[in-house]
Amino acid sequence: MPAIELDGLTKRFGDVLAVDGLDLTVEEGEIFGFLGPNGAGKSTTIDILLDFVRPTSGTASVLGYDAQRESLKVRQRIGVLPDAYHVYDRLTGRQHMEFVVESKEVDADVEAIMGRTKILEAADRKAGGYSKGMRQRLVLAMALVGDPELLVLDEPATGLDPNGAREMREIIRVENDRGTTVFFSSHIMEQVEAICDRVAIINKGQLVAVDSIDGLRGATDTTTTLDITVSNAGADDVEMVRALGGVQSATLEGDTLRVTMSGDGSKFDVLNALDDAGVEVGDFSVDEYSLEDLFVQYTTEKQEVLA
């Protein structure tokens, strides 16, 4: 049974088509990244999964339950960190947690969970005085109550400093190791790249790619540029490098050998080959075509091609 299954999901707000015929399957046990620029339809899709918003057409099911008709069963079994939420200013962190425990009717060690997300020391302060990062930790703690089968995290790193974002990823990994499926959205490729098994990229309400990170790299014309400082390379060495698998071009300019390679090429093969040929390799730098570039390519160029 898939954790999430979208079938022709469409949502129209007046003239705006926020989600346009999404088909997507998230398998149980994976960490799935839902990626797209702001306004691409990520939050609307998540809002439909939670029955905050009703689809215009198509269906969404979560853990085998219809997201609209059986929403209570869905929400009993998942943990959610929503986007653009607001905490109850006048209630303490602990009172927020108690509310979740009562709402889900589960037994939970509130303090242990708050310890995991590092908000325990502020547990008895009113949440209105929390910083953005602290609120994010509190709401993440709320999402973890009751050991959910699926975590839905909408832009979880918002408001977190780099350290906090790293801790967030750590928690996501630990939860995933315990068997929890994680579905999270982001507009920043970097966050997704670090931990996701698979990624979906959406733009203007439409799915433009679903694949593993490596698969995404392979599917596009990603190139890596290698700049190698060499002291005694000749034309035959350049020729030799050009013949290596995955190498697209090799040019020598003074002391710098510039090699461009496709996704399946190995820079170590190049370096080893030069070494074997007796070329003295000094410094070298790698300009890898980043996933960020890939993301930009998917969400701009491809759209232009389609349009």
Binding site: F52, R75, P82, A84, Y85, H86, S103, M142
Partner: protein, 281 residues
């Protein structure tokens, strides 16, 4: 029973509102003053020969009507619209609560806040009055408290329902204040205006019968009318009249107050819930 969790959370949250406590302080002061005035000068303030417990109970109804309507607006206008505007409703509805649970929980939680606030004011006011008069009668006090409870819940229901129709607090404020202005401040003029228009822009010699009914429409009027229906003798003793005797149609009885109050208790809730349940948040 998940509405109980919502109600408890909401009670904790709303009972910490500073505006609420400000109103409670004012209400306690005014209730004490009124109780004192009635017990000391019954002839002047209530046209009754001597101060009685029943008279005191009734005399308080007018101030309760005003306090409950104002406080209901202050405590409830943001109850749902505010959570939608800020986004805290996403925390609430990410949990296994149906929208009905949220709606009912809000109604119960906010009603509890308001009932507690009214109870504090009345307890102090009655305390002073009972001590000054020197006796306590159970029956009128219980009847009055029951009616006041119904009235309070009805008003909370009205404002929560208004709040449930929109995701904007400024719009909820406008609607709630508009309701208050129309039904609690300006309503006296409405039947006359209606008659004036219906009669071809002039006023007739005698008012038509239906004016009685229209006059009683505001929630607080139906509350007072219901009290008169429950305790006619006491109402008479302090000179409070429904005006029903002067009109000779079947609906010109104080009992019509129950019907109008029931309308206010049911219809706004039904409309508010219907809008909230169908909304994209």
């Amino acid at each position: 029973m998940s509405w109980t969790a919502v109600a408890k959370k909401d009670f904790r949250d709303a009972s910490q509102s500073r505006a609420l406590w400000g109103l409670v302080v004012v209400f306690v002061a005014v209730a004490s003053l009124l109780a004192y005035a009635y017990a000391e000068f019954p002839t002047t303030v209530a046209e009754s020969d001597e101060a009685t417990v029943g008279g005191l109970v009734f005399f308080m109804a007018s101030i309760v009507g005003l306090f409950v309507s104002l406080t209901a607006i202050v405590v409830c206008y943001k109850s749902i619209a505010g959570e939608r505007e800020l986004g805290s409703i996403k925390l609430l509805l990410a949990l296994p609560h149906s929208r009905r649970d949220v709606f009912v929980g809000k109604l119960v939680g906010r009603s509890a806040v308001l009932v507690a606030a009214v109870a504090v004011g009345l307890a102090v006011g009655y305390g002073i009055g009972f001590v000054m008069i020197g006796t306590v009668e159970v029956a009128p006090v219980v009847l009055f408290l029951l009616m006041t409870l119904v009235f309070t819940v009805a008003y909370v229901g009205i404002v929560v329902s208004i709040s449930a129709t929109t995701g904007s607090t400024s719009r909820a404020t406008t609607l709630a204040l508009g309701f208050f202005l129309l039904f609690e401040l300006l309503w006296d003029a409405i039947p006359i205006l209606l008659v004036y228009v219906v009669n071809g822009f002039s006023l007739p010699e005698t008012m038509p019968d239906w004016v009685y009914l229209v006059t009683q429409i505001p929630p607080s009027s139906s509350y007072v009318l219901s009290l008169i229906a429950l305790m006619p003798d006491i109402a008479d003793s302090i000179g409070t009249s429904s005006g029903a005797e002067e009109v000779d149609v079947f609906y010109a009885t104080p009992e019509i107050g129950f019907v109008i109050l029931a309308f206010w208790l049911v219809v706004p809730l039904a409309l508010g819930y219907y809008r909230f349940d169908g909304a994209d948040l």
